[in-house]
Each structure stands twice: as structure tokens, then as C-alpha cells.
Amino acid sequence: MSEPVVAGVRRCSFKQFLAWVLPWSALFAFGLYSAGLCLVRGLNQTNMDNRFAFGLWIFLDLTVIAFGAGAFLTGLLVYIFKRDELRAVLNTAVIVGFVCYSGAIVVLMVDVGQPLRAWYTFWHPNVHSMLTEVTFCITCYLTVLAFEYLPVVLKSRDLHRIPKFLVFEFELHKLMPVLAGVGAFLSFFHQGSLGGLFGVLRGRPFAFREGFAIWPSTFFLFVLSSAAAGPSFLLLITWAVEKISGHRLVKRDALASLGRISGVMLILYVLVKCVDTFIWINNTSPSVGFPAHRFYSRQPFGAWLLLCEIVVFGLLPALVLLDSGRRRDLRWLLPAAALTCFGIALNRFVMTIQTLALPTLPFDPFLLYMPSWQEVGTFLAVVAYGVLVYSFSFRYLPVFPQERDLAVR
């Protein structure tokens, strides 16, 4: 084949590509198998139980969707606020977003006991449930993402030749701002609702928070934290792809700008979280008879977790990302971004696992939970799925508009 798969840029040989893809595919297959077990034999395949009603998977969903937030944020900034330096990572953002959301939804389907009834949530929804809001928004937003992803796919060499696709891509691209707007709206709500998911649990004083109107404070905390995690994750991914592919793909200023957004959001998040935690410790939790310090009396979930969340994985990276000098230096930018992502993941972990580990009934024991291999397998399937989708997109689709310019020296 003389013609390059992506216009004007070089890609590794098919053999190399195969060598990269095969292990991931194997992992994916294994994941599918373990997910299949859970579907066929039921959730007894997991290590969840009546007390640990949620486990690894819900943690995964929360985290992955927070990481996927890069999509709506970049879309918003590029199409609505015309921040053109982010155009370079827009496609990546869309692909990552698409992977994260579709992955999350699939895992959710495995996680529920009766997947066949998933559509009941749409058919007779309980509009007061945060989960309903999440379900609606996520599915809608996945559709939106699909339509944002479609143009990238249609730009692939062979499809591009077909006039119908060419023109459709052209026309659809014109209307992107609309979709970006809708996407932002949806994301705002479901990111929030994911936080609300735990914030509304009156029966779980560790998670319960007061808030505004129908939304507990975690609603807003999650919006902010996801907005902080999204760009950082995007930044890391882009950098990783550059390293793995060995091409320069985006201008540094794009990464820096991502870092800046992340930093701003993160510092906001940290501030709000501090206030929220303060109110929770002094008012919300004790008022229902649960002095907050007791929640941290059960190792390994000590107060150090809270400290890490706020300082090590919050304040620290935020300050680095806000420093325009350091931000331009990858040796500062990347670790900061990594810390940010890890911090948000930790927050999601605390929200799910620690919440459920703590007993509410005074005579009930504190529990620990270790996922079964089927759960881990399903988890890995999502990771592998992400890598595969991205790898194929990167190989066969024009993902990085700047790559061609950067290739010319």
C-alpha cells in the first residue's frame, strides 16, 4: 500500500501494530469471559454482598466518567469559547470520552442483577432518584459523543472517498457547536448526579451531605472534580500516545492550556471541598449521631485518606498547574496531572468503598472487601477496550490535526 492510512502522516508497520494490539485483545477477551460469567451465572461470581452492595465496578464507573469529562470540557471550550489551541486534542478528548462512557455503561449493565430490565428506568423513571438522572444523562450524552466521534471516523481514508460520507461529515461538523453545547449541559448534570448518588444517602452519614435545593454538595464537588480530572487525564493520554507512537502530536501550549484548566478547576474543587468537609464534620454528621472522627477510626481508612485527598492530591498539583512557568515544563506538568487524576480516583474510591465499609448499625462490624477475579477481569476489559478503540482510531483516523505540521521540520 503506497497511500498512507492517515493523510500526510506515517504510522508503524502493520506487524508492529499487531504486536501492540494482540496482548490487549487477549486481555479484552479474558475480560469478556469474566463479564459473561457474571451475566450467565449471576452476581454470585463477584465478591460483593448485601453490605457491600457496590464494589469495584461502581468505583470504576465513577472514576472513568470523571476522566471522560475532558470531552465535554474541551468541546465546550473549542466550539463555544473558541479556544483554538485545544482543537489539537479535541478528537482525543472525544474518543477518550466515548470510550469512558460506553465502557461505564457496559459495566453498569453487568453490575445490575436484571440487565434485561435496564429500559424500565426510562419507561417508569423515578425522577427523584439521582440514579435516574445519571442513567438518562449518560445515555443521552453517549449518543452525543457518538455523533461527535462520527466525523472523525468518516474522515478515515476509505470512508472519505465516498461522497455521501464526505459531505455528511462536512455538514455535521458545521453543527458541532450545538452538540457541544448539549453535551456540556448533560455532562454538568450527570457528573453532578454521580456525586449526588452518594450525597443523598441519608442512611449513610459518612456520605450524606446537605446542599442546595435537591442537590447535595457532592453534586457540585463532583462537577468541579471531574472538570479538574478530565483535562489532566486528556493531557496524560496525549503525552502517553506521543511517547508510545514516537511522533510529536500536539503543540506544547495545548498541553499547558489543558494543565491550566485542570489547575483552575482543581483549586476551586479543593476550596469547596474544604468548606464542605468542615460543615460535614462540625454539623451534618454529628447532628445525626455520628461524630465524624469515628469514621476514620477503622484502619486502613484513617484520616490520612482525607488529608491526602485534599493536600497531596489536591492543593499540591493545583498549585503546580496554576504556575504558568512550571506548567510549561513537562517534568512538572505530567506529575501534577497524574496526581490530580489519582486524587479524583481516590475521592471516588472513598465515596464508594469506604462509605459501604463503615457500618451504620452500631452492632454491625466494619467490613473489608476484595474484588473477585471476575470483577477484576471485567474491570480490565474496560481498560483493554479503551486502549484498543484508541489504538485503532489513532492508526486509521486523523486524530491529531497538528501532527502533520509538527512532522515537517
Binding site: A53, V288, F363
Partner: protein, 248 residues
């Protein structure tokens, strides 16, 4: 209109478990699966052994039957994404509709009493034992949540009877399986709004309390004990209790 509730006398309960077995038999809850643990079984009614935390010989223990507390202000109903948790306005009973349940287990995370149970396995009885199932109660399928509904089937039967006898509905007396079975008559059941019912009296008595009262779930299951430590413990003080091996 009635508001059914329970009063359980902790100072009588000897933890024999008759209530649990009666409940399971009445509501077609299957025997534990081979691999089931105390955390994956289905036990609408679970009797906990609670201790005052002191070391021998100062230690004292009581038995605390815990089932769905039938909250007046339910944390669970609000979170169900597809309205599978229903409140019967005529009785105040919260019921789970297995046919509509998605099995997302959000309600279980929401319930502070851990009184909701998920069907981790298909409901399986030893060969031939299906013959002994209660015809009045449909067994639940795998992958849905279930919980105590104050023996709703018995309420329905009682209502049908009352209707047949031409009595006006609302003032219907019946007894759930656990209350009927309790050998020491520790469990009394009735209409909390009916001032001259036993439960109304029991709920009002000074030694009565509710679990996690400060969460303000308005639960309709009251407990009674003359032991101060029991009343204190049942609030929300975390006490060190009998070591139970959590599944890890």
C-alpha cells in the same frame, strides 16, 4: 387507614431464630446456597447478637431481631430509579416489587439498617422441596432485591376475609409470621395509630427505642429493653462487638 408497626421486647428474645425460619417459610425465601455467607444470604429477618462490649465476666448480651424497619420517611424508596419500592398508603407498609426491580442495589446502599437483601443466586430448594412453598407468595428471581414487607400476603388474605365478612377495610388485624412464631411472644404487631393497640402502648413506653433514631427515618419498628446499655447502643454509638469474619 392504619399504620402497622412492631414492638420487639429485647429482654425476652433468647435468639432462638424461630422468627427467621418462620419468616423464610412464610415468604418462600430459599435455604442458603452452599456458598452463601452471613453477608450473601437472604434473611428478611435477621437476629443480631449484641454485646455491651465488656470483657468476661462483665459482658452482657442481647438478641436484636432486625428486619425492614418500615420507615415512615424512607431513605430507600426515594433512590430507586424505577419505582420498584412502593408504599401502601392504606397500611404504611413499604413493599419491594421484584417484577420491576432492576437489581442495581442502590436501595441497599441507602438503607441504614442493612435490611435489604439481594438474590445473589437463583432461588433453589432441595429436590422435591418446592412442594412445601407457600402458594400465596411468589418466589423472587435471581438478581433482584427483596425485603420484609410485614407479610403482605397475610395482610391481603386478612383483607379479603374482612371484605367477605363485610367489614370495612382499613381496620384489619393480622399477624406476620415472625410475631406469630416467636416462642416468648417478644414481637407484638399492630396498628400504631390505634391508641388501644398493644403496639401503640409499647411504642409509647419509656423503655422503648428505635434503631438509629437520630437519622429520623421515622421507622415503625420499636424495641424495648430495660437495659440502659442496649438503649444507648441502639442509638448510633459504635460498640465493639463479637468478632465476625468479614468476607475478604
Amino acid at each position: 387507614m392504619s399504620r402497622y408497626g412492631m414492638v420487639i421486647d429485647i429482654d425476652r428474645c433468647n435468639g432462638c431464630g424461630a422468627c427467621m425460619v418462620a419468616c423464610a417459610a412464610e415468604n418462600n425465601v430459599p435455604p442458603a446456597h452452599r456458598d452463601a455467607t452471613e453477608r450473601t444470604g437472604v434473611t428478611w429477618m435477621r437476629v443480631y447478637r449484641v454485646e455491651n462490649g465488656a470483657a468476661y465476666p462483665a459482658n452482657r448480651a442481647r438478641f436484636l431481631p432486625v428486619m425492614c424497619q418500615q420507615c415512615g420517611d424512607t431513605p430507600c424508596a426515594a433512590v430507586c430509579p424505577q419505582q420498584a419500592v412502593e408504599r401502601d398508603p392504606k397500611t404504611g407498609i413499604i413493599d419491594q416489587v421484584p417484577q420491576r426491580c432492576l437489581g442495581c442495589r442502590y436501595c441497599m446502599a441507602a438503607c441504614p439498617y442493612h435490611a435489604r437483601y439481594f438474590n445473589w443466586w437463583d432461588p433453589v430448594w432441595p429436590a422435591g422441596m418446592e412442594k412445601t412453598l407457600n402458594p400465596a407468595v411468589a418466589p423472587r428471581m435471581r438478581g433482584v432485591v427483596e425485603k420484609c414487607n410485614f407479610c403482605h400476603a397475610r395482610y391481603q388474605a386478612a383483607r379479603a376475609e374482612a371484605a367477605a365478612a363485610g367489614k370495612k377495610a382499613g381496620k384489619i388485624g393480622y399477624t406476620p409470621a415472625c410475631a406469630e412464631a416467636c416462642p416468648v411472644e417478644a414481637i407484638s404487631f399492630g396498628d400504631l395509630d390505634d391508641p388501644d393497640s398493644a403496639v401503640a402502648g409499647g411504642a409509647a413506653s419509656p423503655d422503648s427505642f428505635r434503631l438509629l433514631e437520630r437519622l429520623n427515618t421515622q421507622s415503625k419498628v420499636y424495641y424495648r429493653s430495660r437495659e440502659p446499655w442496649v438503649r444507648q447502643m441502639a442509638g448510633s454509638r459504635l460498640v465493639q462487638i463479637r468478632k465476625e469474619k468479614a468476607r475478604v
